[in-house]
């Protein structure tokens, strides 16, 4: 993985010193809250309902054991013994004292981590496929390009005060696991007919109160032109993006209002001015960054299949976990493992200090010291020898992280909601927990099959409800929480925005409604292979509306 060079170390240390000084001056009353707020936000410090919140960057979701162990240490020493992994592959702590944040940032810097640009109207943490570098289906690892974007976008003077925040995601496979079409810029790394690497470029995707699927503006951008082309996009956005209305300030609105043909023309015109200048990436530089992401030396570990076969016979739990949470690796003797942070009835994305430390141990012992945070709020061990899978499973059982529910209905994305968030209008986590408990039976979940359920506690859509196969949006209506259901959303290579199915449900009704939707699907699917999203796309909303609301129409 990427290691800080001298420049990175100096830059992060300088920022720790600078922000520590700002915190001291704030605590001494030398600067006002109005002066301090933008400074703390640039360093990931928010004020939430109960306390401050610190959001720490995990670049493209990649970290090692030492870093995860440090996060566990911070949880224990400065917070309340847990952290929350987010949909931007980051981690948040919910209870840090402002006076402790300089010490936390110093601890983070000691393991090459920071909280820079995790808030504010700048380019945020670039996200990537959580199986990058391991997936059998990728043309190349997308993370070197995410790292190049990180270096280019860190305190970029021209792009530090954009009209609004700006999010970039990169995938290296046809099967999109990074939700690139829901991003301001989505990059699909691919090869052209000549075998050269480049990107399909999408812009203007986003969720929030105006969800939009990104539009493709270029089918193939040579890799050397990555920064010049992104600069052209950002320049057009920075110049024409709306600053008069916060809710219309994202690039998706500009793309929508300008039209994709015209904005493509503007970007291409800007790019013509930039493409052959200093932003062109030298081949040697790309390959040098790529070298940081060289895969670990995966030695042949024959006999893994036999070991797995025997262990399967021995343990039903292992067998189920293998089927659900273990995916094919590009090396036949290895596999990539999803560590579910969605135990039945647990808080999606939360991990305790001791769980973080134990996972760090497992990664060091069995996973070449590599870990990923997925945007679906789980942890990943990207490289595990098949011969070691049972040992990894046993270790995860020991710390309560072996729930075999990856991609099933209880693998729910949920934002922090009104239990923590100052912007939320309703709670999300208790709804996720209740649905998880209702569908606790793994047998039943597996019968239902792949089903992405996502919950947001306000229209800002941090819980990705618009792109859930089933999405739930919590709002406040007449002083009570009300939950609106959308169906048919998707965040993969066939991204779609879900449709509102009808009137909302109270907190007491919503789980029953979800169960009814699921039962309706089970009743109409062609066969067990037809996934929820495919069945919905075939039949549309009518049967679900009928199931949910027909009784009311008759009663009326």
């Amino acid at each position: 993985m990427y290691r800080y060079d001298e420049f990175d170390h100096d830059f992060v240390q300088a920022r720790v010193a600078e922000f520590s000084d700002q915190v001291q001056r704030r605590l001494a009353g030398e600067i006002t809250e109005d002066q301090f707020r933008p400074l703390r936000l640039m360093n990931g410090v928010y004020l939430q309902l109960h306390a401050y919140m610190l959001r720490i960057a995990v670049p493209y979701g990649t970290l090692n054991g030492k870093q995860l162990r440090m996060l566990g240490h911070i949880a224990r020493k400065y917070d309340k013994g847990y952290g929350h992994f987010t949909t931007r592959q980051n981690i948040q702590f919910n209870w840090p004292a402002l006076s402790d944040i300089p010490a936390i940032l110093a601890d983070l810097a000691s393991v090459e981590m920071h909280a820079i640009q995790t808030s504010g109207n700048c380019i945020r943490n670039v996200t990537a496929d959580h199986f990058a570098g391991a997936a059998a289906d990728e043309v190349a690892d997308p993370r070197p390009y995410a790292e190049i974007l990180r270096q280019w976008s860190s305190v970029h003077p021209e792009f530090s005060f954009l009209p609004r925040k700006f999010k970039i995601a990169v995938t290296g496979a046809e099967r999109d696991r990074a939700a690139i079409q829901t991003h301001d810029i989505g990059l699909h790394l691919k090869k052209n007919a000549a075998g050269e690497l480049g990107f399909a470029v999408y812009i203007g995707g986003g969720q929030g109160r105006t969800p939009m699927v990104a539009r493709k503006i270029r089918d193939f951008l040579p890799e050397a032109d990555l920064l010049s082309y992104c600069t052209a996009i950002l320049r057009v956005y920075n110049l024409y993006g709306r600053r008069d209305n916060k809710y219309k300030a994202r690039i998706k609105i500009l793309v929508h209002e300008t039209g994709v043909e015209e904005i493509t023309r503007q970007v291409e015109a800007e790019w013509q001015e930039l493409k052959d200048a200093e932003l062109k990436l030298p081949e040697a530089d790309i390959r040098a960054i790529e070298a940081y992401f060289a895969p670990p030396a995966l030695t042949g570990r024959a006999g893994g299949d036999q070991a797995v076969k025997l262990a399967r016979l021995d343990s039903k739990g292992f067998s189920e976990w293998l089927d659900q949470n273990v995916v094919t690796h590009r090396h036949p003797d290895y596999a990539a493992v999803t560590i579910s942070l969605k135990g039945i009835g647990e808080v999606p994305g939360d991990a305790s200090d001791s769980q973080m430390e134990a996972v760090a141990d497992i990664a060091e012992k069995y996973g070449f010291d590599e870990l990923r945070v997925s945007h679906e709020q789980n942890l990943i061990l990207p490289h595990v020898a098949r011969a070691d899978l049972k040992a990894v499973y046993d270790a995860l059982v020991g710390i309560g992280l072996a729930t075999a529910n990856s991609n099933l209905i209880s693998d729910i994305i949920a934002c922090p909601g009104l239990d923590y968030c100052a912007l939320a209008t309703a709670r999300s986590i208790p709804i996720a927990q209740e649905i998880s408990r209702r569908f606790a039976s793994l047998e039943r979940q597996r019968e239902i099959g792949e089903l992405k359920l996502k919950i947001s506690g306000c229209i800002n859509a941090c819980g990705h409800h618009h792109v859930g196969h089933i999405g739930i949006l919590g709002v406040e209506k007449k002083g009570s929480e009300l939950y609106q259901v959308t169906l048919g959303g998707s965040a993969d290579e066939n991204t779609s925005v879900g449709e509102i199915i009808g009137r909302g449900f109270s907190s007491g009704e919503i789980t029953d409604a979800i169960e009814l939707i699921v039962e309706t699907y089970l009743g109409l699917r062609l066969d067990p292979q037809e996934k929820f999203i495919d069945a919905y796309r075939r039949v549309g909303p009518a049967p679900f509306k009928e199931a949910l609301y027909a009784g009311e129409a008759k009663a009326a």
Partner: protein, 101 residues
């Protein structure tokens, strides 16, 4: 009725104005029954904000239930108690510990 709430600058912890100071629980917050009392609380909040004691100062709706002050809105109820999903965290944690003792 209104009460005055904010978050303490140093640690961000939610506090309520009570009996001449900032209390860590809402139970005995000073109640404003009329506009004049609201103005008085607002002035106290503005002064404490200017003195860098607290941030995010707000007057919120409250009621008295069984002799104890309670916020009206769910958001403020959660601020006053802690996350509804973790009874061991926030203000409710101390209360539970007291009961246990």
């Amino acid at each position: 009725m209104k009460i005055l709430t904010a978050n303490r600058l140093t640690d961000g912890i939610a506090v309520w104005y009570a009996d001449g100071g900032w209390a860590e629980t809402v139970d005995h917050a000073d109640l404003a029954h009329d506009k004049a009392a609201e103005d008085r609380l607002e002035a106290i909040g503005a002064k404490a904000y200017a003195a860098n004691e607290v941030v995010d100062v707000n007057l919120i709706d409250a009621e008295v239930v069984n002799g104890v002050v309670q916020p009206v809105r769910l958001r403020e109820k959660i601020r006053a108690a802690g996350p509804t999903i973790r009874n061991d965290l926030g203000k409710q944690a101390a209360k539970q510990a007291n009961w246990a003792a």
